[in-house]
Symmetry: C2
Subunit: 425 residues, 2 copies
């Protein structure tokens, strides 16, 4: 295909007319489509329905240590759940706490407690600094940014590539004592879809930071959530231990995209010392989390192989949808120079990088044609995408039929916005 | 019975010999008893086992508003759960959020958010004051005090009676702008067992406070949890509205002592304005709480009558145990002047008020005889009971047989400590 850059003004004008005509046709269909929601579809959720039968009136509610899971107590979580999710994170049960219904809540709470009280080794609570800062690889996960914005933590965006964040810039930034943390989604990054290289993980683990209480917030949301290919990412806790900074990483995960989103269990991984420190703090806010749900999950998932085989089913359900998105991008946009995209190996998103100053226009065009996309800017701290170019495509929730229509509208909008830009240059 | 106060030295010496002989006999039994845990016993927990069958593989997971409870979303909780627990709290569904597995966690989070960001109407986050203070009626619930101590909030103890806290002192204290809150367990107070009088509730609702952002933390843990008599306590939100301070109360509750402790749902009640404000803050920490468990609870409990009839069963299970404790206190200690106690109408505790400087000694004597009691001081901020007199008896968990033995040891220890004190005067 000839790139739009090579079109003459006249050719661009004709192309825009053509595109607008097609756009109008779709607009007249009064569609109501949504590619904004990074949530599993109902078919995926149904994979876990047998879990609803593993703990009934007739079952045994005694955990492996003899406790009745139906009563108070056991802050760190029942032993069999700690073992299962430690295996999942590639760490030890003593390095794992099993907690409430969502890892987002643990992440928020970890940052909030750090603000109020500090982390292990802090000289003072983080809120006692005039300002503290977090490094935010972009594009990134909006919920991470919301936590920082809510708590008044200054966010410093750093460019993310397919192989992890720009480590050179990060190594400079952490020379500032008030830079206290970094958000990382190491595998099938949200929304970029890449995976951190061994080099990136090692550098994050071993870099010298001015803050002695620097923390890596390692949101391992998609640990085994491949779509095309299971990629190996180095274990951050191992690497930090090797580098002499065992207390640097806080690891987060949940079963939200394994069993039921928001009705599963979440877990927190860290060095034994961090876990002991955290337990003392957590004692102020909790007696125990939902142990019945922990036991239910262990009985259903059984072991790491059980989780992996369930995630095979998820991958099989998601693949045709990712295929539709990626094929449509390829068919409609390849060679046009109307945006680029990354083919992810797993996770829940495809990132579309529009031509500069086109993302908002694409969003608007989609919206006016009945297609809801994630708001442009959501991928950046303070919703500030300086190039106005990033858009997040979430293929998981719509049906394949809906996705096809949505991608026609999306690619059409990408073309229109690009041509409009070239005409107004 | 003749009071120990009227005993001669010689009589006291003989009594102590007698008591110690009996104590030794019990010590030789090598018992392992526990009256420390305010948790339901297994028979009570079994009342809710049918709940484990109301949501299986075959059931419908669509909430009344059409949402699939198995997926993400709906921060305030599903409508039918908001309705049920609003009825429970005597407020409106729009005034109610249904949240995670424990109200303790909501309480902590409410105070933590107030520290970090302030509440509706705050001039600044509470952590920006050199010091803020909470009023703590004593004896009170140790977990409330732990939250304050952890977050560096200065606690001011105020005497609690059977009819609520000493309102005169409170009305003076709230003239201080840095007094931001008060902890209240209004019904069957933990551990005192009394209920707030209409007068106390009205005064709390209507008093002038220097802090415009003063909050009543109304831990309605035992809303319908009677043992002997269902007492009516005025609705704090109603009273605050009438008094022109609708945003003053934060109301907390959970199903921990209705269905499964720590595996139920919790709820937060407040004015509509407070709820809207809180939702905006909560958006930083959660997408939604466990909606499957909400639906499970609604399907099982059905309505307020369903909750009440379940709590009738709890009352029937608890009453014989409270009878044992109260009868033993009466039989063994009445007239001796070796301590006093309050007969509660409901809740989970009996408070024993030992003679001054005897509580620690009683605790120690019990311990050395194989009976674990709640640590003395737990009922007071900073574990400081100035008179060393309060002990909390939790009758719910042990069997009736165990309770009888435990109460023999306890009353024996109360007598020994009293006689020892009189001899050492």
């Amino acid at each position: 295909m000839k790139s739009y850059n090579e079109y003459s003004k006249e050719e661009l004008r004709l192309e825009l007319e053509e595109l607008n005509k097609k756009y109008k046709e779709y607009q007249n269909l009064n569609l109501n489509l949504n590619m904004a929601r990074g949530k599993p579809n109902t078919a995926q959720i149904n994979f876990s329905m047998p879990m609803m039968n593993v703990l009934t009136n007739d079952d045994n509610y005694i955990a492996s240590d003899g406790q009745d899971v139906r009563n108070y107590g056991d802050l760190p979580g029942i032993p069999e759940a700690r073992k299962l999710f430690a295996d999942y994170l590639g760490i030890e049960p003593e390095e794992t706490l099993v907690m409430g219904n969502a890892s987002l809540n643990i992440m928020y709470d970890c940052v909030a407690r750090a603000m109020l009280k500090g982390v292990l080794g802090s000289e003072k609570p983080w809120c006692k600094y005039d300002e503290i800062k977090f490094i935010c690889p972009v594009p990134g996960y909006d919920r991470h940014f919301t936590i920082c914005e809510f708590l008044g933590i200054k966010m410093i965006p750093v460019k993310l590539t397919e192989w992890g964040p720009d480590m050179k810039t990060i190594q400079e930034l952490v020379k500032d004592e008030t830079v206290k943390g970094i958000w990382c989604v190491p595998k099938y990054t949200n929304p970029y879809g890449g995976c951190y290289s061994d080099e990136a993980v090692k550098q994050l683990a071993s870099m010298e930071t001015a803050a002695k209480d620097f923390r890596i917030f390692w949101d391992n949301a998609y640990a085994y959530h491949y779509v095309y290919k299971d990629v190996e990412v180095l274990n951050i806790l191992d690497e930090c231990k090797k580098a002499g900074f065992p207390n640097r990483p806080y690891i987060f995960g949940s079963t939200s995209k394994i069993t039921f989103p928001g009705s599963g269990v979440s877990f927190f991984g860290a060095s034994k010392e961090n876990i002991e420190f955290s337990m003392k703090q957590l004692n102020a806010e909790s007696i125990s989390w939902d142990k019945i749900n922990m036991l239910r999950h262990v009985k259903f998932l059984k072991d790491l192989d059980g989780i992996k085989s369930l995630l095979d089913k998820h991958a099989n359900a998601l693949r045709p949808k990712f295929d539709i998105v990626l094929n449509m991008l390829d068919t409609e946009l390849s060679g046009l120079d109307a945006g680029s995209w990354v083919k992810p190996d797993g996770g829940y998103f495809v990132t579309f990088i529009a031509k500069n100053n086109c993302a908002k226009r694409i969003y608007q065009l989609c919206k006016e044609c009945g297609l809801t996309m994630t708001e442009p800017g959501a991928t950046h701290p303070y919703h500030l995408d300086p190039d106005d170019s990033f858009l997040r495509i979430a293929p998981s929730y719509p049906s394949e039929e809906e996705l096809k229509q949505a991608m026609i509208i999306f690619t059409l909008s990408a073309k229109i916005s690009t041509v409009e830009r070239l005409l107004n240059k």
